[in-house]
């Protein structure tokens, strides 16, 4: 089995952004640039998340997807603020191969069933944001970790699977953007409980974290953002493009990578995995 490495791109307006615990979003550049670079470097899939749609109920991501889908021929998953069958159809029409649904699925679990019957299970990724509550319990939250649901993460993952989810995108919200490593316990629990693939997300600070979530967390696929984005962003001459009035441009101005993040080239990361006997797709 080949593990999949998936750069996660959080989008706010026209920009690729990255925060810590899904907050304090910093502008890193234009998503089209990053998407092309990751495609060329052998990303196995790409994940686009609209960083604000779930809060404000708007959806500004689809034209970015449309632009990238024309030249990128690996699976694209789109999430953030998709609430209805029509939203899902619009995302697929714009060029998504899969959609990630989160808040809407929690509020209306039947959406998972309806969407998987309509578009096929393999198209429907259920995104679960989890927060640790005790040594062995995790709670599902929505709206980027702001709203608690009272649902147990493992139970909800099993339910989503029964309803027809094709994959689970599992984010440990408290790890997100911190570089402190994936939540291995959470990932392993859900990956071992489910017959469908689990994509681990949240916490990658260095290559070793990715290796651990595959070996110890039993992740079927791994999402990472900061480690890849900061590598590519430092490769771009900062301060050239005009990003004024586009939010928090600290990184663009200073080029300062957050502490805890050790950027890595996607290709080098895959070489390291292969050298460690973790099978993954290598690109020529």
């Amino acid at each position: 089995m080949n593990v999949r490495i998936i750069p996660r791109m959080d989008i706010k307006g026209p920009n690729l952004v990255k925060g810590i615990n899904l907050e304090g979003l910093r502008v890193l550049g234009k998503p089209e640039y990053f998407a092309t670079v990751y495609y060329e470097k052998g990303a196995d899939e790409l994940l686009y998340m609209d960083a604000v749609a779930s809060l404000y109920g708007r959806n500004s991501l689809l034209h970015i997807v449309e632009k990238t889908a024309a030249d990128i021929f690996i699976p694209l998953t789109v999430g953030g603020g998709l609430r209805t069958i029509d939203d899902i159809r619009a995302a697929l029409r714009a060029g998504a191969d899969k959609v990630a649904i989160n808040t809407a699925a929690v509020h209306n679990p039947n959406l998972i069933r309806e969407a998987s019957l309509k578009f096929g299970s393999s198209t429907i990724v259920v995104s679960i944001d989890a927060v640790q509550r005790s040594a062995d319990s995790y709670e599902v939250c929505t709206d980027y970790g702001r709203e608690c649901t009272g649902l147990d993460a493992v139970e909800w993952a099993c339910r989503a699977c029964e309803l027809g989810a094709g994959e689970i995108l599992l984010t440990a919200v408290r790890r997100e953007g911190t570089g402190t490593g994936y939540d291995l316990t959470l990932t392993r629990r859900i990956a071992e409980a489910l017959p469908i693939p689990v994509i681990a997300c949240g916490g990658a600070g260095r290559t070793e974290d990715v290796i651990r979530v595959i070996r110890e967390g039993k992740a079927d696929a791994v999402c990472a953002a900061s480690i890849f984005h900061y590598h590519e962003a430092s490769a771009v001459a900062c301060g050239k493009a005009d990003f004024s009035d586009e939010g928090n441009v600290t990184f663009l101005k200073t080029g300062k990578v957050p502490s805890g993040i050790k950027p890595v080239d996607l290709r080098d990361l895959k070489r390291t995995l292969e050298a460690g006997d973790i099978a993954c797709r290598m690109c020529a």
Partner: protein, 247 residues
């Protein structure tokens, strides 16, 4: 204008069969990228008139066959397959070409290739049970002792190339000569592409398999364009023979 006219004569028209299941846009984009003129259609006329037909599909086998029957597309597809023009099945589209599937009971398929479609039988890797569906990248190779890929849609594909798969079931062609490619999922070897004359099918998604997948679409465009050229040459020959005998 005459230039446009010439272009439209030589452009390959690709019909992507729409029977209400699955996401056809990525297939359409890949066709366009490879220089074909794609149309997503559920019309029998469009299918029969096309230079190449793609049969995609996701979901359950039984539902897909029911949908093809409801849309009155079974006969047009079988008629098209007789035409000698390329028919390309993708993912569930491969499985539909087989004679039957054992997904939730036994269902008849289109029967263009003999053999059943079966579920992955508890694939394992070392002491670890692998997940079904298989979701992700896997290598494809020519079957040992089987036909090689020269002159096929995999002509430019390297042995061991990675392609993107999403499936729980796979075809078991009765005749080894119809197996175009094989792959391994853990300890299980399975058929990942089939071919019988002008009928091709891939269990993976070439349109989601990066540059290597796009090469397959380019080969398909080339094959279809070659057939158009051949048939127009044949027409010219027939016309000139008729001319000669009239003289």
């Amino acid at each position: 204008m005459s230039e446009n006219g010439q272009e439209s004569r030589t452009a390959v028209s690709a019909a992507i069969v729409d029977y209400g299941l699955g996401n056809l846009f990525s297939v359409s984009r890949a066709c366009g990228h490879a220089g074909m003129s794609p149309v997503i259609t559920s019309s029998a006329d469009d299918i029969l008139a096309a230079d190449i037909v793609f049969l995609p599909g996701v979901g359950a086998f039984g539902d897909a066959m029911d949908a093809l029957r409801r849309a009155d597309l079974v006969k047009p597809l079988l008629d098209y397959a007789q035409s000698g023009k390329p028919l390309v099945g993708i993912c569930l589209g491969l499985q539909l070409l087989m004679s039957e599937s054992r997904e939730f009971g036994v269902h008849d398929g289109l029967g263009l290739i003999e053999g059943p479609v079966v579920r992955f039988d508890n694939p394992r890797e070392g002491d670890r049970a692998l997940k079904v569906p298989q979701v992700g990248w896997n290598r494809i190779s020519p079957p040992a002792g089987g036909p090689d890929w020269s002159g096929t849609l995999l002509d430019t594909t390297g042995n061991g190339e990675y392609m993107y798969f999403v499936h729980s079931y796979h075809a078991c062609p009765a005749s080894p000569s119809t197996i175009l490619a094989i792959s391994r999922y853990g300890d299980r070897e399975f058929c990942s592409a089939v071919r019988s004359d002008n009928v091709y099918a891939f269990q993976f998604h070439p349109e989601k398999s990066g540059p290597a997948g796009l090469e397959i679409y380019r080969s398909a465009a080339k094959l279809a364009a070659g057939l158009i050229e051949q048939s127009s040459k044949r027409n010219i020959t027939i016309e000139s023979c008729q001319q000669l005998s009239a003289d």
